[in-house]
C-alpha cells in the first residue's frame, strides 16, 4: 500500500518538477564550471528570482488573481530573517527598540529561515481573511494595498526596523548552491501543488468561481491555502536575497521588484510552472544580453557607442511582443510534464466497472415554502416540491417564471428569503453552494460553465476530489475516467475542455456533476443548443443514469417534447408560483398551464383546436 503522501502526488507533476529542477541544477553546474565571479553572482540572483516567481506562480498562477503583494512578503522575509541572524551587538546599535529576547538572539540561517517562513505565513493568514473573500477583479488592488502598507510599516517602525535606512551586516549565508537548492525545491513544490487536489481546486476557481462552488469547492478556503503557502515561499525568497546581498533597504522590496517578478511570470505563462521558470530564464538571459550590448559593440565596420537604457527598453518590447502574440504567456497553461506523461487510458468501459448504485431509495429532496424576492419582485413565491430518488421531475414555465432562481435557491447559489430545503431530512437552507454540493445535490448551469483551461479529465477529477477527500489523485483520476466513459467521452479526457464541441462540453459538465456522487441532479436546460441527434443521445444517457444510479433529476427545459418524453412528473411555475404539478399527461391537459404559456384567450382557442386530436 502506498502512503497517503505518495497517493496524493501526481505522476505528471512529479515529472514536471523533476525535469525543471534538473534544468536548474544544470544551469548552476555550468555557472560553477565557468567560475566567473560575476557569472556566478548572476546565476545566484537568478535562482533567488526563481523562488520569488514560484511563490507568485503558486498563488496567482493557480487562482488567476494577480498579486502585487508578494513582494511585501519578500520584504517581511528579508526583514525578519535578517533581524534573527544579525549579531546581537550590531542589532543593539541598528535597531535599539527591538524586544530584548529578539535583540539578544542570534540564530543560524536555517532556523531563521524556518521561523521567517512561519511568521510570514501567519501574516498571510491574517491578510488572507480579506483577500479570500474578494472578487477576482478587486483582489489585486487589495494586494497592492498590502504592498504599500507593509512598506510604510517597515519604514514607520524605525527602531524595531531600520526605518528607511539600509539594513547591513546581514551574514552572508547564501551562495550559488543554497540558492539553487531553494530554487529546485520551490519549483518542485510549485509543480506538485499545481496538480494536487488543492491546486486543482484553486485552478478550477480561477476558471469559474460559481461553477467551482457548484462542484463542492470551498473557494475562499482554497484561496486562503494558496495565499498562505505562497507567502511562505515569498518570505523565503526575501530571506535568501537578504542573506545573499547582505544589505537591503525597504525600497528594494517595492514596485520595481514587483514589476520584475510579475513580468517574469506573465511572459512565460501565468498558468504554468514551466512557464514561470521559462519566463524567469528568458527575462534574465535577455537582460544579460542587452546590458552587454549597452556597453557598445560593432558589427563589421560600424561601431555602436555605449548607450544606457537598452535593457529597460528591450524588456518592455519583450513584454509587449509576448502579450500581443500570446496573451496567456509563452506557454499558456502547458507543463513540461505532459511530454513525459504515459498515455494512460482506462481500459474498462462504463459497462463492466460501473459505479455503485446509490442506496438512495429513502433519499428525498424536499423544498417547502421557498420564497425569494429581488427588490419589489417576488421571483419565487411559496414553492413547495419534493424529488425522490430515481424520479425525473421536470420544471417548466414561461420565461421569467422563476425556474432558474428556484434552482439557484436549491443549489445554494442564491439565498432564499424563506422556506426550507431538506436533503434527506436535513435542512440545508443558508448553507453555501459548495456545502450543498457536497451533501449530494449537483447542478449544471444554463450556459455551459466548464473550467475551460482544464482538461475534460481535470474538470471531473476536481469534483471527485471534493467529495472523496481521502482519495489519492490516482483513484480520483480512475473514477473520473469511469465517469467520462459512462458519458462515452473517455477519448476526450486529455483535451482542453474549452476546445470541445458543444455537445461534448455538456457531457463533461454532466460527468462533473455526477462526480459528486449526487443523489440529486439539477439540470438547467441540459439540451439547450444541441441538435436532434445530440439531444436523443443525451436523453438516453440521462434515462439510463437515473435507472442505474437511482438519481433524482430536476430538469429545467423549454423543449416540451424532451420534458414530456423524459419526466415522470412535471412542475409548472408561473410568475414565481407553482401552478401545476403532475404527470406529463395531466400537465398537458391542464388549462392553467396553457393559460400561463399562451394567455387566456389563446389557450381557449388552442384547447378547442387540439382537443379532438389528442384522443
Amino acid at each position: 500500500m502506498r502512503s497517503p503522501i505518495a497517493r496524493s502526488i501526481s505522476g505528471a507533476a512529479a515529472a514536471s518538477g523533476l525535469a525543471l529542477g534538473a534544468a536548474l541544477l544544470v544551469i548552476a553546474l555550468l555557472a560553477a564550471l565557468m567560475s566567473s565571479s560575476s557569472g556566478t553572482a548572476t546565476v545566484t540572483n537568478y535562482m533567488i528570482m526563481v523562488v520569488a516567481v514560484m511563490a507568485l506562480a503558486i498563488f496567482s498562477g493557480n487562482s488567476g488573481i494577480l498579486s502585487f503583494g508578494h513582494v511585501a512578503f519578500m520584504a517581511l522575509g528579508a526583514q525578519i530573517s535578517a533581524t534573527l541572524t544579525l549579531p546581537a551587538m550590531l542589532k543593539a546599535s541598528l535597531m535599539p527598540n527591538l524586544p530584548q529576547a529578539i535583540g539578544q538572539a542570534q540564530l543560524g540561517f536555517a532556523p531563521a529561515l524556518l521561523i521567517t517562513m512561519a511568521v510570514v505565513a501567519a501574516v498571510a493568514a491574517v491578510t488572507g481573511l480579506v483577500i479570500r473573500k474578494l472578487a477576482a477583479a478587486v483582489a489585486p488592488i487589495a494586494t497592492l494595498g498590502l504592498l504599500i502598507i507593509v512598506n510604510s510599516l517597515i519604514i514607520g517602525a524605525d527602531g524595531v526596523t531600520r526605518g528607511s535606512q539600509a539594513m547591513y551586516g546581514v551574514p552572508n549565508a547564501v551562495g550559488l548552491w543554497i540558492a539553487t537548492g531553494a530554487a529546485v525545491v520551490a519549483t518542485i513544490a510549485a509543480s506538485l501543488y499545481r496538480e494536487s487536489s488543492a491546486g486543482l481546486s484553486l485552478r478550477a476557481s480561477r476558471e469559474d468561481e460559481a461553477a467551482a462552488s457548484a462542484v463542492g469547492i470551498n473557494v475562499p478556503a482554497q484561496r486562503m491555502l494558496g495565499w498562505i503557502w505562497s507567502a511562505a515561499v515569498a518570505g523565503a525568497a526575501g530571506a535568501l536575497l537578504a542573506h545573499y546581498l547582505t544589505v537591503f533597504s525597504p525600497k528594494d522590496f517595492f514596485f520595481d521588484l514587483t514589476f520584475a517578478t510579475i513580468v517574469m511570470l506573465i511572459v512565460g505563462g501565468m498558468g504554468s510552472v514551466t512557464g514561470a521558470l521559462l519566463g524567469t530564464s528568458l527575462v534574465t538571459v535577455l537582460i544579460e544580453i542587452l546590458r552587454r550590448l549597452e556597453n557598445g559593440f560593432s558589427i563589421g565596420p560600424i561601431a555602436f557607442p555605449q548607450v544606457f537604457g537598452f535593457t529597460q527598453i528591450g524588456l518592455c518590447v519583450l513584454i509587449l511582443a509576448v502579450l500581443y502574440r500570446r496573451p496567456e504567456g509563452l506557454l499558456g497553461f502547458a507543463e513540461i510534464g505532459r511530454l513525459f506523461r504515459r498515455r494512460e487510458r482506462s481500459t474498462n468501459g462504463a459497462a463492466d466497472a460501473g459505479p455503485p448504485a446509490a442506496n438512495a431509495e429513502h433519499e428525498a429532496l424536499e423544498v417547502s415554502g421557498i420564497r425569494k424576492r429581488f427588490g419589489g419582485l417576488t421571483a419565487v413565491d411559496d414553492v413547495s416540491l419534493s424529488l425522490r430518488a430515481g424520479e425525473i421531475l421536470g420544471l417548466i414555465g414561461p420565461n421569467g417564471s422563476g425556474k432558474t432562481t428556484l434552482l439557484g435557491c436549491i443549489a445554494g447559489n442564491i439565498a432564499a428569503d424563506e422556506g426550507a430545503i431538506r436533503i434527506s431530512g436535513r435542512d440545508v437552507l443558508g448553507e453555501p453552494a459548495y456545502a450543498i454540493a457536497r451533501s449530494g445535490v449537483a447542478r449544471n448551469f444554463q450556459s455551459i460553465r466548464l473550467f475551460s483551461n482544464l482538461t475534460a479529465l481535470e474538470n471531473v477529477k476536481v469534483a471527485v476530489l471534493q467529495i472523496d477527500r481521502a482519495a489519492g489523485l490516482r483513484e480520483a483520476e480512475a473514477k473520473a475516467l469511469r465517469l467520462l466513459a459512462e458519458l462515452r467521452i473517455e477519448t476526450l479526457a486529455q483535451r482542453r475542455s474549452g476546445d470541445l464541441a458543444y455537445g461534448q462540453q455538456r457531457r463533461v459538465e454532466i460527468a462533473r456533476a455526477l462526480a459528486l456522487d449526487p443523489n440529486f441532479l439539477l439540470l438547467d436546460e441540459p439540451a439547450a443548443g444541441m441538435n436532434e441527434a445530440e439531444t436523443d443521445e443525451l436523453l438516453s444517457i440521462l434515462e439510463w443514469l437515473t435507472q442505474r444510479r437511482r438519481l433524482g433529476l430536476l430538469i429545467v427545459d423549454h423543449d416540451m417534447s424532451l420534458i414530456m418524453r423524459l419526466c415522470h412528473r412535471i412542475a409548472v411555475l408561473n410568475k414565481g408560483q407553482l401552478i401545476a404539478l403532475g404527470s406529463p399527461a395531466e400537465i398537458q391537459a391542464s388549462p392553467q398551464v396553457r393559460e400561463a404559456y399562451l394567455g387566456r384567450r389563446h389557450a381557449r382557442i388552442l384547447e378547442t383546436a387540439i382537443q379532438p386530436s389528442k384522443d
Partner: protein
C-alpha cells in the same frame, strides 16, 4: 524548439562575453557602477558626464602625470542592489582598481562588499549619508557633501542670523529627509539655538494642510524652519505655509538646488539652502561650467556634473600622491590622506576624517527669482555632528 535553441545560443553568448580584458601597466581602470536608468539616473547620469569630461581632459594631456591614461568603465545598475553587486564583480574581473559606486547607501554597500576583499576602494558617486563610510568599512569613501556637514553649516548660519528657535520638517522615508534636519538641530543647539518642534510628512504627500496648521498654531512662531524636503514636496509645503500666514524664514539643503525652486516666485523669496558650490565669476566652478559647455555644447544643469568631474580629479590626485601607483591599496591609502585638495566645487579633505570628507559648502539664497551667492564655508571638523 526554436526557443530552446535561442536560449542556448543566448547563454553561450552571455558566458562568452564575461572574459576579462587585458591589463596594461600604464592605464588606470576606473569602474563606475551607477543607476543610469531607474530612480538614481537623475544623479548618476549627470555624474557620468562630468566624469567623462575629466577623463577626456586628463587623457588629452597625456594621462595622470603625463603617463597614466585613464579608462573609465561604466555599467548601469538599473538602480537595483543585486545588479550593482554583479556589475561590480564584472568590472573587478576586468581589472578595475578603483570603483565609483551608486548614489544610494545600500547599493554602495553591496558594491564595496565585492571590492573590499580585492582591496579596491569604492567611492560613492553622490550618497551623502555619512554613516556609509563606517558601515562600508575601510574601503568605502563618501564624496558628496555629507548630510552632517550641510546640517553643521545650516545650523551655524541660522544661529549667526540671530534665530533663537527652530522647527524642523522631516520625513522618515529617506535618511536624507530625516537625519539631515536632525544634524541641523544638533548644530543649531550647539550654537545656542533651541529646537522647539519637529513635524513629520510623507514623501510625495499632496497636501500639507495638517503640517502647516500645526506650525501656524505655534505660539510664539519658530524663528526659522528647516527642512530637507525637495520637489515636489517642498514647493507644495512652502506655498501652503506662506498662504497660512507663516512668514518664518525657511532653510533647506542641496535637494533645493533646482531651477523649479527659484522660479516659484515671491513665495520662495529669501529661502536659503546649501549645496556643493556656487559658480562665482572667476571661480573654479565657473571655469568648469565653461569647459563643460565647450565640451558638450550645453550648459551644466546640475551640480552632479561638477561632483562627477571632481571625483575623477580626486582619484587623479590620489594616484599622483601615491607616486603614480595604480593598485587599489595604494589609491585607498592616498585617498585617505588627501588634504585641502582644490577641486571645481571648492576644497576637499579626507585626512583624519574616516573617509567622510570635509568639503567647502556654499550657501545660496533665492532672490528676485534667481539663485544668489551668500557665502562659502568650510566647517571645522569639531563643529560637524557625528554620523548617526
Amino acid at each position: 524548439m526554436k526557443l530552446i535553441r535561442f536560449l542556448l545560443f543566448a547563454s553561450l553568448f552571455v558566458l562568452g562575453t564575461g572574459v576579462a580584458g587585458a591589463r596594461a601597466e600604464d592605464t588606470l581602470k576606473i569602474g563606475f557602477v551607477g543607476g543610469q536608468t531607474g530612480y538614481m539616473a537623475q544623479c548618476d547620469q549627470p555624474s557620468l558626464k562630468g566624469m567623462q569630461l575629466a577623463v577626456d581632459e586628463i587623457n588629452k594631456a597625456g594621462g595622470i602625470d603625463g603617463k597614466i591614461k585613464i579608462e573609465l568603465l561604466a555599467r548601469d545598475s538599473r538602480s537595483e542592489v543585486a545588479p550593482s553587486a554583479v556589475m561590480a564583480r564584472e568590472l573587478l574581473d576586468q581589472g578595475v582598481t578603483v570603483m565609483i559606486s551608486p548614489c544610494d547607501v545600500d547599493h554602495s554597500i553591496a558594491v564595496v562588499g565585492v571590492t573590499a576583499p580585492a582591496k579596491v576602494p569604492a567611492i560613492s558617486s553622490c550618497a551623502s549619508t555619512p554613516s556609509l563610510a563606517r558601515i562600508g568599512g575601510d574601503y568605502m569613501f563618501v564624496n558628496c557633501t555629507p548630510d552632517n556637514l550641510q546640517g553643521a553649516v545650516l545650523g551655524k548660519y541660522a544661529a549667526a542670523q540671530g534665530y533663537k528657535t527652530a522647527l524642523i520638517l522631516v520625513s522618515k522615508d529617506t535618511p536624507y529627509t530625516y537625519q539631515l534636519p536632525i544634524y541641523f538641530s544638533q548644530a543649531f543647539e550647539k550654537a545656542g539655538g533651541k529646537l522647539i518642534g519637529t513635524v513629520e510628512y510623507k514623501l510625495g504627500q499632496q497636501d500639507f494642510a495638517a503640517e502647516v496648521t500645526k506650525i501656524a498654531q505655534m505660539s510664539p512662531a519658530p524663528d526659522v524652519i528647516m527642512t530637507s524636503a525637495y520637489e515636489p514636496d517642498f514647493p507644495t509645503f512652502l506655498k501652503q505655509l506662506r498662504s497660512a500666514g507663516v512668514n518664518s524664514p525657511v532653510l533647506g539643503s542641496d535637494g533645493l538646488d533646482s531651477p523649479t525652486i527659484w522660479s516659484l516666485g515671491s513665495v520662495a523669496e529669501g529661502v536659503v539652502f546649501t549645496n556643493a558650490g556656487f559658480p562665482v565669476p572667476g571661480s573654479r566652478l565657473a571655469r568648469f561650467g565653461d569647459d563643460y559647455k565647450a565640451h558638450y555644447g550645453e550648459e551644466t544643469q546640475t551640480v552632479f556634473n561638477a561632483t562627477g568631474y571632481d571625483l575623477i580629479k580626486i582619484i587623479e590626485a590620489a594616484v599622483k600622491a601615491s607616486g603614480d601607483k595604480t593598485d587599489g591599496q595604494s589609491i585607498r591609502d592616498a585617498l585617505d590622506n588627501l588634504e585641502n585638495l582644490q577641486i571645481a566645487t571648492g576644497t576637499i579633505t579626507y585626512k583624519g576624517m574616516n573617509r567622510v570628507p570635509i568639503r567647502s559648502v556654499a550657501l545660496n539664497k533665492v532672490a528676485g527669482g534667481k539663485k544668489t551667492y551668500v557665502d562659502t564655508v568650510t566647517p571645522a571638523p569639531a563643529d560637524v555632528p557625528p554620523a548617526q
